[in-house]
Each structure stands twice: as structure tokens, then as C-alpha cells.
Symmetry: C2
Subunit: 450 residues, 2 copies
Amino acid sequence: MPKPAAGTDRITLLDAAHVVPVRPVRGSLPNHSVAIQGDRIAGLMPTREASQRWPDARHVDLTHHALLPGFINAHTHSPMTLLRGYADDMALDTWLREHIWPVEARFVDSGFVEDGTRLAVAEMLRSGTTCFNDMYFFPGSTVEVCREAGMRINAGLTIIEMKSSWAADVEAYIEKGLRLLEQWQGQPGVNFALAPHSPYTVSDGTLERIEQLSARHGLRVHMHLLETEWELKQSLQQHEQTPLERLKRHGLLNQRLTAVHMTQLTADDIEDVAEAGASVVHCPQSNLKLASGFCPVAELSDAGVNVALGTDGAAANNDLDMLGEAQTAALLAKGVAVDAKAVNAFQALEMMTVNGAQALGLEEIIGSIEVGKQADLCALDLDAPRMHPLHHVISQLVYAAASAQVTDVWVAGRRLLKSGALTTIDEAAVIHSAAHWRDRMARFGAAADH
Amino acid sequence: MPKPAAGTDRITLLDAAHVVPVRPVRGSLPNHSVAIQGDRIAGLMPTREASQRWPDARHVDLTHHALLPGFINAHTHSPMTLLRGYADDMALDTWLREHIWPVEARFVDSGFVEDGTRLAVAEMLRSGTTCFNDMYFFPGSTVEVCREAGMRINAGLTIIEMKSSWAADVEAYIEKGLRLLEQWQGQPGVNFALAPHSPYTVSDGTLERIEQLSARHGLRVHMHLLETEWELKQSLQQHEQTPLERLKRHGLLNQRLTAVHMTQLTADDIEDVAEAGASVVHCPQSNLKLASGFCPVAELSDAGVNVALGTDGAAANNDLDMLGEAQTAALLAKGVAVDAKAVNAFQALEMMTVNGAQALGLEEIIGSIEVGKQADLCALDLDAPRMHPLHHVISQLVYAAASAQVTDVWVAGRRLLKSGALTTIDEAAVIHSAAHWRDRMARFGAAADH
């Protein structure tokens, strides 16, 4: 049966205690309803008015809830959920060389990526995330899992000068990436970015190719940048330029750049990034856990840079919880700036919604509750002791709410989490498969120890 | 009916997937049971063995759970839950003078303290906390709510050179405090500390009195110390000594001191604190949110100082979630020390359990799952996507678990949270009363704006 055109779908009204649209309204609206028609937002108005306007609408009772735009995780490596807690509390170098890379070399294949992505999507939907910006091997498998689950994805076409089970060399990474692009182009909910791993893992020649591909296909470039002091020193030694100068030289410091981490920035760098119109993705918990350094979020924001928020992979976090990440971002920014006014609750909320959409080039279709945008939404239950008294809704969401309060999530109008239950993912099977991977890795770890 | 002696009570066996005793075992024990008899822990052994030893025991099925010592919140102002989110994102001075102090002056009375404490205890029990170290006005009201709810408390006998609705002057604070001590002495679950607010709010004469009272009654001294740079400068200006030097001069830098915050420490200070055997309470989220500074947790621990963990009051956090606090503490310590090995997962767990017990002088009776100690326990459900795969139990609890997974809590053998429901607190009534206080404060705030 052909799906009716969006305009003729029956209206669903989400009747919420508080709607937090983020744009254009920057506050919270009590007793408002969001109308969904097909995959889009068809209205936002007081509940009483909405009921009169659409008397035949279906209703979803969210009168004990806050309704927000779905969260956008602007940087993660979703399949790495299978390595959550595999190795912790180590220096970055030991962690990568002795633990993460060996286990990845042994286990990563399309099955690992499918199972890891499904676990990640389950966790993300449960915590209110409706779209994520991914970077890993076998991105086609990640896209397929997202399509099957109804999750929105911005998939990275990974490029790295390193042989993997996914591709043998840079040419193969690029070729496989472009094939995926062709295969999925125009499919709803699926978008792509070029994803060179980092300045220290791609050559000058490859950076040139990436610039050309980005311009030709209108693709954004999603890249780790200035994560550690080591990276800065290594670049100065090898290239006699900072990583940022190198990207600039290759024409990559522009409004299509999504630079992740950025803990090593001078005042001049911040000005350059602002002028170029590039986006920065801040991953505070990962930066802390790996002792990478502090991203100057308040200064970047003050300079007009679009700062989004990412969890990084679960191996370095160890969860994909955007509410927790936003709270850490708001708190840490104050400590780092020595200013309790830095990154207020609303700015933290922008970082996980509209700013994320902009960092993915999707600001026209997601990131806020506005008529015409995709119906990507999440509802949080306000009936917990930690939510009371409710003096200020947005402050409460950022500083006191926990992701377990997320009860309902819609992506493109489809209810993927319904009163606390996932509707498109078999959670027991996902957990069972994770246990299977754990057992295999435990045997491998035990063998490696002998 | 008289309660039978502990030794004759029927045994209850908590059969857990993983028991994390913290002491003396420093790892996790799979398929173990904790035996409770009366208010105490009577055994810890493999479940099969426990069932044979006590064939008539009652069983609680925790075979999808981790069982831990209850968390100890080593610094909070519990009634301030009613001011949660009342004012955020402001400089400390504006926040206190223009918002917190005026609203406290208008509203704080024994009713406010009772309702705020009840809300705090509900939130703490729901997140696995079984004991807290409190500092506020009307401590007798806080103690009464705890007795009624079955919560363990270390109540601060607040002393401050400032008139309040609780006491007119220092003499009155001390006299009322000593009366409470007499009234509650020896009651199970109720302990006390002297709680001078801070060096800048008590005179030299008062510090002298406090030293005498501490020695005479064997009371610990719970005090804000070196929270901000302002405090350090003010002390140098007024006393020509740092706050730490001043406490030392008055004989208060000793093993009975529980010093909260400690963000302004030199290497010599750290050595002094270690030598004195004083405890430090780290409140990372409050220090970040108020931009107070960074407590050098890794250096303090390395020097052998006992570091416990506190949430501070909900007005400056904005929750009382010890798991969240422990995660922030472990992450932030790495960032501040520029060392990914600083404060590992087990150390973070110690900070919220045994170290907390020591900071309260209760290390003989709580803080770990050891035979003879009080049965203060919490169980976390491991069946959530964010808990999988389960490579390492303790890492998962600190870096990935969320407090919403806490399903069951026992204090002194009494089950105060049972499969997610509070057994001694009427949660709906608590939330209703919080809404009532919010309405009153909103009217006051609106009036103040005119």
C-alpha cells in the first residue's frame, strides 16, 4: 500500500506539561502540544488550542513530561560500545597500543559493527538521542542497522592511512565510501560526511583529495583535531606547521569542517576557526578520561564558533548519554573559564540540539521544534524527586535530570521509544549478543596474557 | 512486642550476580550472597554455600544486580533541595547575596527543613545513598525526618556568627547543638559532628570553643575550608594567616577534621593535612558549577590523605546523585592531574564508601560489606544497554552506570527501597509539598522584582 503524502496523514498531538522548542522560542512553554503529521512537525501551540484545531487528532499524554528536540550526538564511534570498559584508567598510548588496537584488529568485521551499532542505538534512543555523527570501519553496516531501527545517522566515510579489515589503503577507503554514498543518496534519515581520522593519520596528498571530494560532493569533513598536546608537537616536528595551519593550507579550514576535540588552541586559532565558520565538537568526558586537555568552550562560543557536543566512543566515556555530557560540558566550562556564568543551561541545551544540527549540516531539518522540521523529539518524565521543586524547566533538565527519565522518542514522526520500551530493537537479543562478544574478547585477552 | 536480639533474627540472603564488598576484597565476587541478620551483615559467601548454610533463610533475588555498600554523601545541606535550580549560572557572590540568602531569610524554618530533608532523603535513597553528612539550620528537624524514614545521618551542629531563624548568636547555636546531642545520644543511626560553617564566618574565640567541645565530646569537626581564592585572600588580609594556618593555631588541624572543598592548596598544605590525618571531602560538581577551583584529588590521595565525596547542597549541584559525583570525580581528577591513570574506578568507589565512612568517623560500622558491620547496602540492576558488555564490573559501575539503576536499598538491615519503591516515604506527598514551596517562593521572587 503506498504511503499517503505527508499532508494527508492523520495528526498526532503530543500534549506536554512543558515544551522546550530551543528555536525560535528560547524558553519553555507550559501546557503546549506539538502536532506531528507524517514525518514532520505540523504545529506547536497551547494544548487547548491544538485540540480545537484538530478535534480528530490522536493524543499522546505527556502532561507529566517535558518535550524537547531529540538530542544530536555530534561525535561517536558507535560500534565501540562492544569495547565499553574493556580497558580504563590508562595513558592514551598504552590504552590504544596495548588494548584497543589489538582487540579491534582481531574482532572488527561487519558482524561486530552491526551488533555494536545496534547496542549503541538502543542506548542512544533510551537516552533521548535521535541522530548521531559516526566515524568507524564498515559504515555501510552501521547505516543498515540505523535504517532497520529507524534511527537518523550522519555516517562518516572513514579515511585513514592504515590497513583494516574494512579497507586496505586510502584508495580503497575512498572508493568504498563513494560507493556507499551512491547507494544511499537521498534515502530519508541517512546522511554522510567525509571522515579523515586525524591530521596525523592522513598524508598531505590525502588531505588534498579530501578537499576536492568535499567540494565536489558538498560533503562536510568530520575529523579529530588537536585532541592532545602530542598531536600538536608531532605536527610541528613533521610538517613545521600546526595541524590547523596544515588544514588551512589544504583549504580544509572552512564552513564544512566539523573539528572534534580542539583542546590545544591559541587565541589566534580561535579567531581563525570563527572566521572560517567551522564547527567544533566538544567531548568533555572523553577529554577528561584520557587526560587530553580542556577545550576552551566559553571562548569559542564567545568568538561566535558553533560548538556542538559528542560523547565520543563508549570505550572512552563509557556511555552515550548526551544529558550527562551536556551537564559535564556546562559544569566544566565554568571551572575552566573560572566564571560561573560561562555556558549556561540554555547554551548547554543548544549544544546538544541546534548546534549539533549545524555541525552536521542538518540545521534546516532537525535540532529544534519548529513547524516543517522533521519530528525528532524526546520526552522526559518530570515525576521524580530529583526534578522537584521545578523552579526553572531548562535549568532542571540540564543540571538535575537523568537520561533514565526519557520515556518516549520519535524520529521522523515514528515512535521508537514508547513509554520506556524500544519498538524497533529487540533489546534482549542485543544484550545477549553483547555478552557473546564479551566472552570471545575475554578468551582473547586471557590468551594474550600468556 | 520486644525486638529479638540481633543474633536470633531470621537470616535474609541477598543473592547477587556480583557483590562488590570494597573491603577487605577489592574486586567483585560473582554469584555471591550477603546474609543480613537484624541490622547487621552476618555473612558473605558464594550463593550455593550460603543456601546450604542457612536453608531456612528468606531470599531476595538480585541475580541481575550488583550489590554494593550504600553510598555515603560526605557533605550536603539536605534541606536545600527546595532551592534546587532556584538560581543558576551566576557568580558565587551574586548567587548568595541576591538569591540564596534572601530566600533563606524569608522561608527557612523547621517546616522548610523537614520538607526539604524528606525530599533529599527520597532522592538519596533512590540513588543508593544510605548515610549523609549534613550541615544546615534546624538540625533537629533533619534528624527527626531521618529517624522516621530509617535513613542514617551524621548531623552537623551548625555554628556561624550570623543570626538565623534557628539561633540568634554563637552561644545559642552551641547551646542548641549540645541539647540535640544529649537528646539523641546513643540512638541507632544518628551521629553528630560540630559544624562551624567556615573560617571566614567564625571568630578566633569561637574556633577555640570548638576545639574544646570537639576534644571534650569526641566530636568531629565538619567545615567548609579553602573553597575559593577569595577565602584565602580574605584570611591573609584579616588574620595574616591562611585559613589552614589559623585552624592549626587553634589545634583544629587534626584527625577529627573533615575539611570540605580544599581547592586552594600548596604542596606544603597537602603535606600538613596528610600528617595531621584530617579527611578531605571533594565536591567536584559544586566546585565546577560555582567556578571555585580544582581540588588536587590525585595529589591528596598520593600523599595518603583520606578523600571522601560529597554532592554539596542541591542548590549548587543540582542533584544528590553520588554515582554521578563519583564519575565526575574520577574524570576530573585525570584532567586536572593530566594523567589518565589518576583516581581509577576502584578509588572512586572507595571515595563514595569506605573513605566517606572514615571522614564521618564511622569506619567501624559502615562503608564496606564485612561481617559485623551494619547492613547498609544498595543494589543496581545490570540489565540496561549501557551496562553491556560487562567486561569489568567496577569500571562499569563508576563510568557507565546511572543512579536510576538502583532498585533496592537497605539501611541497618531495613529495606527502604524495594524494587524501585520507597517503603518509608510517601513520595507523592513529598513532591506535592515541594510544589507548594515553589509556588510560595515564586510569589516572593516576583514581589522582590518589583
